[in-house]
Symmetry: C2
Subunit: 205 residues, 2 copies
DNA sequence: TATATATTTTGAACATCGTTTAATTTTATC
DNA sequence: GATAAAATTAAACGATGTTCAAAATATATA
């Protein structure tokens, strides 16, 4: 009871990833089990352990794909050269993706590896690509030799934006009626850019 | 094979919460199982289902206690009336708690209820208490009739701060070497307050 | 005090989970 | 066609959340 060359290893990997994606998207991350994915692709659970180290590893790979999709969506935003405006465009893309794929977004950000285990390098590199888009939007505020400051600012904006969406998503921000997420994110971005401009304008002039 | 009045229901609740806390703190949230907690308090797993609706419910209760502990720690910070300084003091408390109880902090913020289920009101109220501390720190920047704006600003700062710590904790911010988390948080707070002051100073003068 | 009732607590069971492994089937090699 | 290598599987293991009838205790009633 075994097969071969129905699919290559790469095809199998794609099948598994696609099935995992569909499962999470349809039924949430709690439905992402080895048996569910295996059944969806017509293989036994054991086969998945030929492709991934374990389920955690599979989730990291799936999150890697989600990260790519998010990057692609954010890349579609046009660049005007105005930091605030370009960040708003990124915000649009981010919230758009979150709205279209809430369960994948949840898995991407809420999931964390067991204690001790670190994210693999190829994953961190994908994160870096997304961060690069934020850096590019902030670029006009920085001089050519200030790439480190620029990178840190990008990380802060990215993380702040994520915090708003994350807490909102899990209901941990819903203290009495408040602004919608988009407005909060806009306020964060504009105020941060204003503050950044004030400090940096002073330093550079 | 049963007992009674070894402990009252309240004592049992305390025992369970304490055992759950110790388990998470020592071995991470993945070790928080019904059987582990039951064994730690000398009762059978079934008894836990007299105290909590299910494990998710137990986690929400534990997170409620964590929230109280965090609130207590943040309350200890002295208030000077200078928003930036007071926010830094809160930041100190926040990072201090995170450093002392990383696993409890993880469970508090990374855990999310299954799709559809909402956090109970008593929990949201506890969140509101913590948010109140941030609001108090920001208060000097707002007029007496602007409590809504003040609340929104507090939520934004709180969420932004959380985003930085959260992404940092899960390794999703570690793109090449960068600032430590404290510096990022400080930058976020100062720039945001600066931006907020610029906008609001204009409106009020 | 003896009996009846109500309440806790439990052990055992159920379905499911991640993961491992020996056995089986297929493919590739000679 | 026989042999070696590789892929796939079924079955099993231990552990999980959760349920529930039975058992044990406490309380109320007589």
């Amino acid at each position: 009871m075994a097969r071969r060359s129905d699919h290559t290893r790469e095809e199998l990997y794609d099948l598994a990833m696609e099935a995992a994606r569909a499962t999470v998207e349809a039924d949430g991350y709690r439905a992402l089990t080895a048996r569910n994915v295996a059944e969806a692709i017509g293989y036994s659970p054991g086969t998945l352990y030929n492709l991934f180290e374990n389920l955690d590893d599979m989730i990291v790979h799936l999150n890697g794909r989600t990260l790519e999709a998010l990057h692609e969506r954010l890349s579609a935003a046009a660049r005007t050269g105005d930091p605030a405006a370009d960040l708003m465009a990124l915000l649009d893309g981010y919230l758009g993706y979150l709205g279209d794929h809430p369960n994948l977004w949840s898995l991407l950000f809420d999931y964390s590896l067991p204690e001790g285990r670190d994210l693999p390098d190829w994953y961190v590199r994908k994160v870096g690509l997304v961060m690069g888009l934020v850096e590019a939007a902030l670029a006009p505020l920085f001089g050519p030799g200030e790439s480190e400051d620029r990178g840190n600012a990008a990380r802060i904006v990215w993380a702040g934006l994520h915090g708003i969406c994350s807490l909102n998503d899990t209901g941990k921000l819903r203290v009495v009626a408040t602004q919608p997420v988009r407005a909060m994110a806009e306020t964060l971005v504009t105020h941060f850019v204003t503050g950044l401009g004030a400090v940096r304008g002073g330093r550079r002039s």
